[in-house]
């Protein structure tokens, strides 16, 4: 049906232009990789260089062309294109056009490719001639793979990549929309817009920073692979070191921005939740930190060659693996913000495995074994495609590759004869890097539970495994963190090769004593005085480990401060690493205190609370706050003053009061936590936080009525409810307490039995409102000729209606029906409030760590320049 319709005003040329760039970028990257490959063969001359670098330039221009085209389309609202329709709309403000750009998968791949191009061009302009060809060959090969993710071409049923320039009417998801059958549909449609949850400034700064971080891991990777390829294991490390620390800084900043976003704008109730998407950026960073440190060992003392290659390579491979985890839809129900499946699962697996294959092949330095390994790999791939048994084959291949790696390490890799001294800096730096590598492997393993299920469920175990809980992540990671902090503290005091143990102990003694004294005086009241005796065994272990972590973090801060002041004599220029280490320790200290001493300050203190919770469950954390009521939250008194709707955002305004010396309430601040009534994905709670120097007061609304007060008919009465009671019993309404005061009748029992004409029984009710005013209500039970006459008593002052419904003479009780005016029911919210103590230590640590890394990079560049000029 589509092909018979002639569509009006579609701008097909721009999609064709974009697709032209996509194909050109792919072809140019491929040619560039081939060109650099031949250029790297030393016998060949500079023609290949010209060819390869021209191809890379064309590739770069094409990637920028794709980005510019997509941006132009978004900016001009070309809704005939699926990507524009899905991510933008007519009202989109300028600052969010960029956010629309990277909201979708295709756009974020494009962002990644763009940063790669930027870094690739800097790399090839600044690198030594010797390393240009091999590094750029691998760089261009990676770009081939990334560019292919934008292709969106079908091979039979199999789709390669996902194209940002697909037309709306060609997208199977939308093709059947009725309006697409109209010729001039473009005149009528508006886009679906950016997810309102993402319309905040974090969305404009976090993705570009994080993707620059992901891109930056590529540079150490290409250096290390080039080193394996050319069997020169050392000379690449010096130029790669600056790139490695650049990567540590940018990726670290990106991760921290993610944490800050989660804390400020999303209602996780914290800054880190061990979500797979968070882990997938943390793991490459941990490995990159390890890589940076073994590279420093290598620079100063030589050795640790295998580890430098392993870690520099692993960081990028883990970025690829994370891309697979978060983009393939495999995480499904285990992550709140994983992308859905775009049909790229197989493709992403193939990419990860291809790069592993390349690295193993390059590692094997024996032609026969290398060829056999390749043959076996291809045979297994072929067998998997034709005969199935993919999982078994994949696992076998992984085992073979792992064994080949170990074999090559033993057989072909240069090793040192001399053993490191226990009193040497290189030994402990190496141990530290191992700790980082090991912890990142464990986090990766934990995050990969859904992958394990896919591979092993029904074979090694029956039931599908659930994701690892936050508490378990913490339990496992705390010991690693303690070891890392102790190493961060003492390692600088070791000299390379050999240190005098007595000298070493003398140096660290001061910091050690200070850490223990300050630490103990802090951790005893924090963790041991109240909680410890009543804690379960696992919680006792947790408390002890928190205490150790606290002391180690203090020790690390003192040691590095001392090193900076006494050994480096306060010279900032040389102290980059000390400063960064102080930052690292402060981050962990802040994270520890604010998380372990996070206090729920919203406890349900309202009078109306009757039921109690089961013993196994958390203490109460929600507070019901009725409009106008004032309840205590922590050291404050809080009033809910009302709600306010702005667009789809409903703000709940709270005033916080403190008491002054005279006991009078003084307003301290106000907070407006918000619930977004998001048409795209349901409601989203957005916390509001008051920041103080020593703590944060964090609130978010877990339940609130979103409809406006105005939409409710105030004069209407609610459904009535019946009460059976005796004299002096009480009935509660929303605004008063009602007591059955007396019951009178116009006739005695004797009279009634004689004269059946009319019986009137009057219930006298006394209603006491919140202010203590007493009102009288007298509903009547009227019986005339054995018929009950309807009679209603309205107490206008309180908006209550009563009907005297029944008399139970045997029980001596009466039944009264009461209905309340709708407007009596006051608006309320259910909220959770936390106090995060000393969370500013964490943010300060972030800043200090970034500054330290920048100082180290500047110093490294200065030294490199000095060396090259002298």
């Amino acid at each position: 049906m589509n092909h018979t319709t002639e569509y009006i005003a579609e701008r097909l040329w721009i999609g064709q232009l974009g697709n032209g760039f996509v194909i050109l970028s792919l072809v140019a990257a491929l040619l560039s990789a081939v060109g650099y490959y031949f250029y790297s063969k030393e016998t060949l001359t500079s023609e290949w260089k010209k060819f390869a670098s021209t191809a890379f330039t064309i590739h770069s221009i094409s990637i920028i062309g794709i980005a510019a085209t997509l941006f132009f389309m978004l900016f001009n609202h070309f809704y005939e294109y699926s990507y524009v329709y899905q991510h933008s709309n007519n009202e989109m403000p300028m600052q969010y056009i960029m956010s629309c750009f990277w909201e979708g998968q295709e756009g974020s791949f494009l962002l990644w490719a763009f940063w790669n191009v930027v870094l690739g061009n800097i790399l090839r302009k600044t690198i030594d001639a010797k390393w240009e060809a091999p590094t750029m060959a691998i760089f261009a090969l990676v770009q081939v793979f990334i560019a292919s993710m934008l292709l969106g071409v079908y091979f039979g049923d199999y789709k390669l990549g996902s194209n940002p320039f697909i037309l709306l009417r060609e997208n199977p998801q939308y093709a059947n929309l009725p309006f697409l059958q109209i010729e001039n549909y473009l005149a009528k449609i508006d886009g679906r817009g950016l997810n309102p949850l993402l319309m905040n400034y974090w969305m404009t700064i976090h993705p570009p920073t994080l993707f620059l971080g992901f891109s930056s891991t590529l540079v150490p990777f290409v250096f290390a692979v080039a080193g394996l390829w050319k069997r020169d294991f050392t000379t690449w490390q010096k130029p790669a070191l600056t790139w490695t620390f650049f990567s540590i800084m940018i990726l670290g900043t990106g991760i921290l921005m993610g944490g800050a976003w989660a804390y400020e704008a999303l209602s996780f109730g914290g800054f880190w939740a061990w979500d797979p998407v968070e882990n997938s950026s943390l793991v490459p960073w941990l490995v990159m930190v390890g890589a940076g440190h073994v590279m420093i060992i290598n620079k100063n003392k030589g050795g640790s060659l295998f580890m430098t290659h392993l870690m520099a390579i692993a960081s990028f491979l883990l970025v690829l693996y994370s891309t697979f985890l978060t983009r393939s839809g495999i995480l499904g129900k285990s992550s709140v913000h994983a992308f859905t499946d775009l049909g790229m699962q197989a493709q992403l697996v193939v990419y990860v495995l291809t790069f592993v294959l390349i690295c193993v092949v390059l590692l094997i330095h024996d032609k026969l074994i290398r060829v056999s390994y390749l043959m076996v790999s291809f045979l297994m791939l072929f067998a998997g495609i034709t005969f199935g048994h993919k999982v078994a084959l994949l696992l076998t291949w992984i085992v073979i590759s792992f064994l080949m790696t170990i074999y090559s390490y033993i057989k072909f890799f240069p090793k040192e004869e001399e053993e490191e001294s226990l009193y040497s800096r290189e030994f402990w730096m190496f141990v530290g890097s191992l700790v980082f590598l090991l912890s990142s492997l464990i986090i990766t393993y934990f995050t990969s539970i859904p992958v394990m299920n896919k591979l092993f469920q029904g074979w090694l175990y029956e039931n599908e495994k659930a994701p690892i809980k936050i508490a378990d992540y913490n339990l496992w990671m705390v010991p690693f963190t303690i070891i890392a902090l102790l190493l961060v503290a003492v390692t600088q005091y070791f000299k390379y090769k050999k240190t005098n143990p007595k000298q070493f102990l003398k140096h660290i003694a001061l910091s050690g004593v200070l850490a223990v004294v300050f630490g103990m005086s802090a951790v005893i009241p924090l963790y041991f005085l109240k909680e410890y005796s009543s804690a379960s065994p696992i919680d006792k272990w947790n408390l002890v480990s928190y205490a150790l972590l606290f002391i180690s973090a203090l020790f690390a801060v003192f040691c590095n401060l001392d090193y900076w002041m006494r050994i480096l004599k306060g010279k900032t220029r040389h102290a980059g690493s000390s400063i960064a280490h102080i930052g690292f320790a402060l981050i962990l200290l802040g994270a520890l205190i604010s998380t372990s001493k996070k206090q729920t300050i919203s406890q349900n203190t309202s009078q109306k609370n009757v039921a109690s919770l089961g013993e196994n469950f958390d203490a109460k954390k929600s507070l019901v706050l009725t409009k106008g009521d004032t309840l205590p939250i922590g050291n404050y008194l809080v009033t809910y003053t009302g709600k306010e709707r702005r667009g789809i955002d409903v703000f709940f305004n709270m005033d916080y009061f403190t008491k002054d010396e005279n006991g009078k309430l003084v307003k301290a601040f106000d907070l407006s936590p918000m619930i977004q009534d998001n048409p795209r994905m349901g409601t989203a709670s957005h916390p509001d936080t008051k920041h103080f120097l020593s703590n944060d007061i964090y609130t978010h609304v877990t339940y609130g009525v979103l409809s406006d007060d105005k939409t409710i008919k105030k004069d209407a009465y609610k459904e009535p409810t019946n009460f059976v009671g005796h004299m002096n019993d009480t009935i509660f309404s929303d605004n008063a307490i009602i007591r059955i005061d007396s019951i009178t009748t116009n006739l005695t029992e004797e009279q009634y039995s004689k004269n059946d004409s009319l019986l009137i029984v009057t219930a006298v009710l006394k209603a006491t409102d919140i202010n203590g005013n007493i009102y009288r209500a007298t509903p009547r039970y009227i019986l005339k000729h054995n018929m009950v006459m309807p009679d209603e008593f309205e107490l206008k002052e309180l908006g209550l209606k009563f009907i005297f419904w029944k008399i139970y003479p045997n029980e001596g009780s009466v039944e009264i029906q009461m209905s309340e005016k709708v407007s009596n029911v006051k608006d309320f919210v259910v909220l959770e409030a936390y106090m995060f103590p000393f969370i500013n230590v964490l943010w300060l640590g972030c800043l200090v760590m970034i500054i330290g890394t920048v100082v180290a990079i500047i110093e490294r560049r200065r030294i490199n320049k000095l060396k090259s000029t002298s």
Partner: protein, 127 residues
């Protein structure tokens, strides 16, 4: 033996230890019937909200408790007591994962994860 080899062995031992302990202790996805068989074990039960029966939540009585009926993946329906305030979007949920234990005929959950219609594939037209 070199120190580096000892380190290597320690690393491998720790890695294997973590893998095995976590494999044994980690919770599994399951259904009400299995959870009823082991009332002391925590389970992740996957299912759908029964939308024909209203969700009970009265914050004035207990703001930290709500209850509803859920049908698990095997088709068994049980009453669920969730020890939290009611998730604002529960009526829109397509799938629910509950974390908790069976107590008699009720499933007591202290955590809930919901899958709501995704922003990527709801496919609603806007004209």
């Amino acid at each position: 033996m070199k120190k580096i080899h000892i380190l290597g062995i320690v690393v491998i031992a720790v890695a294997i230890g973590v893998i095995f302990t976590s494999l044994q202790s980690s919770a599994t996805y399951s259904d009400f019937t299995e959870a009823a068989g082991n009332p002391d074990t925590e389970y992740h039960v996957v299912g759908k909200l029964d939308k024909s029966i209203p969700v009970q939540y009265d914050p004035k009585i207990n703001a930290d408790e709500c209850s509803f009926m859920m049908v698990d993946n095997k088709g068994v329906e049980k009453k669920v007591v969730l020890h939290k305030s009611v998730p604002q979007d529960i009526q829109k949920s397509e799938q629910i994962v509950l974390i908790g234990k069976m107590q008699g005929e009720e499933f007591h959950a202290n955590e809930i994860l919901m899958k709501c219609p995704s922003k990527y594939n709801d496919g609603k037209p806007q004209v």
